[in-house]
Symmetry: D2
Subunit: 91 residues, 4 copies
């Protein structure tokens, strides 16, 4: 329920559609035995694009769910969960 | 030309196919306004899967191109390029 | 002002003291021309130790400052800042 | 034995000395209860500085040990080890 913002939802779907295309492009590069370094650079690009999607979702989550939970005085569980997410992202 | 190994190529294509499916799954989760934290965890999973693909490509690249270049006494450029790739991955 | 918790403060200082010692150990390894791979592994260990310190500080920050700002209805700036910090950590 | 280059060794020791000072600075910030976000930003800076040290060591290692091992036709073990190091850095 946290992407209630329709503009952000559309933006996210566009980005994910582009990422899907990039993955297909990488498969094609592998299929055609293209130069590894070029493929590796494409993978880096997808990782960055995914990080941006993650960042947008995280922002929405903090401004939405986490903020509401804190205002409703039951923020503790929500913050635990948030810290787990961040930990997974930063390792 | 570095994925001359047909088994590795097949493995990579399978992995990339699975990643493409995961991205589509994430788009569906966004579309259906699923819980952000679940979506973020899926994104983490794709990032890990992409890292594995990168690792396999990197291994093939080092064992193939880089090794040949070094044996042929023109390894310097190949190593420069390799260091750039690693830098991009580790930042 | 966010490490008002004396136990956490002590824990952080202990961890940072240990990290300082590890850095000195790495300098010694470089000085003595020890094997690069061993030095690189030590650097990885310090990076993990630093991430743990960062995670503890982040947790304190979210449970402290950010929570208070949100409760006081001026959470926006605090969340912007938090997102910047996370971005820097996840890149 | 891989930092046989005296200029690189000196550069590494200078960088590590600076990092040690930064860690001491972070301890002081914690001691004085400075603002978490400032401390977190300092930790990011140290992580970047450590990555640079790692990158320099890695370059020396690849140009030195790994290259020699490959030329001596016993590169396989050296490459396995290198891939482990890279994996640890990129996770």
């Amino acid at each position: 329920m946290s992407q209630s913002n329709p503009r952000r939802k559309e933006d996210l779907l566009l980005r994910l559609g582009r990422i899907e295309g990039q993955i297909r492009g990488i498969s094609r590069m592998v299929e055609e035995d293209q130069y590894c370094v070029d493929i590796l650079n494409q993978i880096s690009a997808v990782r960055s694009a995914l990080s941006s999607v993650g960042q947008i979702l995280l922002e929405g989550h903090i401004r939405g769910c986490v903020t509401e939970a804190i205002k409703g005085d039951h923020g503790d569980q929500s913050i635990d969960e948030l810290l787990q997410v961040i930990k997974r992202y930063t390792r």
